[in-house]
Point group: C3
């Protein structure tokens, strides 16, 4: 399968067989991501990490992935880009940066900016989050984590909990999981439930999801619990926030009801959503998930730059 | 020709044969700059990118040039240097940084700072812009772009338009172009015309330049149109600015009068000086010019660090 | 001797033979640190430079050391970490960053943070300064500088002058020097003298130190003069500061009383503590000391990552 020079702006830019290919490739990257094995197969290549807003994990995991493959990174961070974009259009910035590099990773606060960048750039563009839009490499690493921890995605009972309305990655993850045959349950307070159009998409590509606000009633059947952060700013009334945040806090008491092999995921950073005591249980896979950002981004860079393991 | 360990503080540090040598070397660097070919000939070397004020293009193109040659970059950006220079003299900073690196690229807001740095550093110093002073690598890449796009500089009719008074690079570019036999026309409102001493220097080393404020009257003969930005801040009266900015805006209507093989250059970033519609014409070479920053800076690093293509 | 995978949080984490081993290794690193010789023995490894507060010299010398060994650096600077740590605990940050890298260098404003990081990280942690706590790599490079400039530390008469009370590195340096048999004199105004517990420790491990506020009376016997900065902020009364700062300013007049082979050290940056005229004397070794940060940090990285010179 040849994915050389494609853009990854949305997870929908990839069909199922292409996603499978990338997941397989990520699996192969693990010993290189841990530093156990070494490759220089993309040495001499240059990646531009263009971050118009901070996103430490995404930025660092791309940098680490690049380093493990011998790729050099040009960092264009928010501080710099502020000055860069002083009156300059994004299309001019992109046309300049593409002439310095072989591939562009773009994080930008405005939805659609990655699509625009891909239009103007002759080099591949990877969307690393564009506002309320897509964050496809996060979706891919989440799929990868579930597949590698549970042996597959098909038939898995995945409970997503937290802010499902505004949470950027929740929407595309839900659709992707459904496409792979997962059975979804969306747990959120009514004001933060999954938007109707996403619920409809999920049903179209796979099983109809279940919606509820009661986490305890669904925890016992779950194979995967995907926790997202509820932001205080969403609530005009702080008491209302405290009530909701408290309800969805994952701790050992709640997990007593869970299956022994339930895995708990979280895109991080977490604040209070998961109690530290959970870290020491076998359920906790969120740091492994963070690590998986490296082999997944290595796989994507390999695919788009046409690298071959030596 | 041996340029190893020299400083490049001003374009006048180089004689004509040295400039020719660097231009030839930049030509050879192109396939390496695009990533088509790969070299590790300067691997293990360390470049300190010391930016006391932001300058994204210059910084990134040096980083890209370094990456393509296998050189590692220590970034000392404005944020860091603020803290570094807290009470520390520039000469102390330079003597510390030179002990961590093999070559120093310095951008500093004060004229003369690069000369001072070169005095204190035992490692070569490249001036990447020192306030109202010099920016010799920009001049070199401009010469290179004209030479490679037009086949030579001798006898070329170059029209420079915009802020020729305060524009940092316009002065040294004009002198260098004249030295190479170009015939210059300076187009600017009276208040922003080329300073008399630069006009005198241009005449001394080559043809006497023509001065005018009327762009339309000279566009039809031009081989090269070099556009620079007019900064709003120069005009106490905003209406005055709008009038001037509008007069010198390059668009397709203006270019109807131009030769078919006219090339339009701009050091970027542009704001309104060139209409986006021009991007799609064969005249537009400013993004190519931005790219040329990479092979030119590779050539300079090769020359100063004594690299040999393997 | 095997130091692979140990943490270096405090100089006390190392016994005397381990310190000797690192000093020997640093000696061997010098030709690689200057760029005279090249090695790729740690290529493919990734170092996370995690700086929660700025410290240009420490950061850059680790970067330079890494570059000379072929190690890639992930920079997590204060700007980024501010956003990273938005509500995130240090332990979460560390567990994420360790999954992207092979070794962590941590600078943090809070005492004890490096010990905490070492507890949570499965990868080695190097303390690059934690508030009023330790800065062991600075201590090591100071020992290294004295040893290589004077041929040994045993029996050396070392005069430490300046702010010995609050100066972070003065305490652990004093103890380490005493352990190696140096004879110490502490010169400071009474309000900034070495704390009693450090004086006690120094006496325990070696010779009892001499305390005085009169620099002139002790300068003539010194082999090493270690100068630290007195911060204006320590003095409520500016006149009091000026008097003290003036008293301890090192200039050629003072050095007339010194031995010919006295060496003057300073961790840099200096402000007024050492007159620029001293730079041109043979006493001045503070820029050499800054350079020594590179071979010393190379030695530490070699030891902790298990590198072998090819």
């Amino acid at each position: 399968m040849n994915l050389k020079d494609i853009d990854i702006v949305s997870i929908r830019d990839l069909d199922r067989s292409q996603i499978d290919h990338i997941l397989d490739l990520a699996e192969k990257m693990i010993p290189f991501a841990t530093g156990e094995r070494m490759t220089r197969c993309l040495e001499g290549k240059v990646l531009a990490n263009l971050f118009f807003e901070p996103s430490t994990r995404t930025k660092l995991s791309f940098e680490s992935a690049a380093a493990r493959l011998g790729i050099r990174v040009l960092e264009v961070s928010s501080a710099t880009t502020t000055s860069m974009s002083k009156g300059e259009t994004l299309s001019d910035t992109i046309r300049t940066v593409e002439s310095y590099s072989d591939i562009i990773v773009l994080r930008h606060p405005h939805e659609g900016s990655s699509r625009l960048a891909a239009h103007f750039s002759s080099k591949p563009v990877i969307n690393a989050g564009d506002g309320a839009g897509q964050h496809p490499t996060q979706t891919l690493l989440d799929l990868f984590t579930i597949r590698s921890e549970k042996g597959g995605i098909e038939g898995m009972k995945v409970v997503m909990v937290g802010d499902l309305k505004y949470g950027r990655t929740a929407h595309s993850l839900a659709v992707a999981l459904s496409m792979f045959g997962a059975e979804l349950t969306f747990v959120a307070p009514e004001t933060l439930q999954m938007p109707t159009d996403t619920v409809d998409q999920v049903s179209e590509v796979g099983h109809a999801p279940r919606l509820t606000s009661d986490l305890e009633s669904v925890i016992s059947e779950a194979d995967v619990l995907y926790v997202t952060r509820i932001q205080r700013e969403r609530f005009p009334d702080p008491e209302e926030y405290n009530k909701v945040a408290g309800t969805y806090r994952i701790d050992k008491t709640l997990l007593r009801e869970a299956r022994k092999d339930l895995i708990v995921l979280h895109p991080l950073p977490r604040v209070d959503e998961i109690a530290p005591e959970v870290d020491y249980t076998d359920h906790a896979k969120y740091f492994r998930q963070a690590f998986n950002g490296v082999p997944m981004r290595m796989a994507i860079l390999m695919a788009l730059l046409g690298g071959e393991l030596d």
